[in-house]
Assembly symmetry: C2
Homo-oligomer: 204 residues x 2
């Protein structure tokens, strides 16, 4: 990268270049863009991340990101409190919410069991899930972890812990994705989609 | 985009999504990355852009970005003060500096003449260039604008203004770029590279 004639500029570029997927050239482009904005707009930008980091809270029940001690989903009486969907992180909560197909509650594990990365069950929000699962109102735990080796390992671990409790345990369906082409679908997925075929219905 | 359960998070994502080339998904990824950093690191990030915007200065002589009233290049007695390289913006200063082939001074126009974008000569730092060009010590003005329609128009405009003054005017060479393939080079560039061929030398 070229020498920059301003240490203020250099500092801002260095900070942006620390972001994931942002190289020095992109960092320079973003910083020069901000430099052309009004002072108050740049302050609003800077303050927004600092305030987020300083004041961020996580729901005491489901560990989703929240502005309050209990998140809007957990405190919403119109959600189905008999269902708990277990996900890895807050992005996955958003992804499931985005489907508009789920009206139950969530539980954010904060990761999956991964011995390679040094993540064991004790590093995840598993104890609090087991406590929630014992509540009278909870009927079903839906495991919605990523379909990976680590996700499957975590699913199995959770199943063994949940099985003795008086609660149903389900796992999200696997199969061919919308608009996938069968000839390019891996054999595990395609095989599973045949074994787990469902009764044909006009409105799938 | 999914509904986000935190207005603080939503605000930060919205701010990032205003950056050029950053969509909402990328914005979310960057903000969630910052959320995992230490409070002091996030503050350092936010402060860096706000301080840059609040305290940025531009060199009174060449209009390059600078921490002082006169930039390091203009105030450096070891630079060649008889040469002024005219560029469009501060990124171009960095690009030329990066070549390590130029030891003269710069003049940042702040754009090029572009009637389509409503940019006329009066919007650019042309008056101050003409004043600098009249100084005794200045021998040559090097026009290093982008090889585009607007760049060429601006080159021509500057040439007409500079010609009456007692100063040389040159323009950066155009021709085939390093590692270009001739068969894919446009005919204007290739034609010009033949017309403006130079004497062969072992060390180009």
């Amino acid at each position: 990268m070229p020498q920059i004639s301003s240490t203020l500029l250099q500092r801002a570029v260095d900070e942006f270049a620390k972001l994931p997927g942002v190289g020095e050239k992109t960092a320079m482009r973003l910083v020069l863009h901000l430099l052309r904005q009004e002072v108050q707009d740049v302050n609003q930008f800077g303050q927004s991340v600092m305030q987020l980091r300083a004041n961020v809270k996580f729901c005491k029940t489901c560990h989703n990101i929240s502005d309050n001690d209990v998140c809007d989903i957990c405190s919403n009486p119109r959600r189905d409190h008999s269902l708990i969907c277990v996900v890895e992180n807050i992005q996955d909560v958003m992804a499931v919410e985005n489907t508009q197909q789920y009206r139950g509650l969530y539980h954010v594990l904060g990761g999956v069991i991964s011995p390679m990365d040094g993540v064991g069950p004790g590093d995840l929000q598993i104890e609090s899930l087991l406590q929630r699962a014992q509540a009278e109102e909870v009927k079903e735990i839906i495991l919605a972890l990523n379909p990976t080796m680590e996700g499957d390992t975590t699913n199995f671990y959770l199943y063994r812990k949940l099985a003795p409790l008086n609660v149903g345990v389900s796992v999200i369906a696997r199969g061919v994705a919308q608009n996938d082409e069968l000839q390019y679908t891996d054999e595990i997925t395609l095989g599973r989609s045949i074994v787990n075929r469902t009764q044909f219905a006009v409105n799938m």
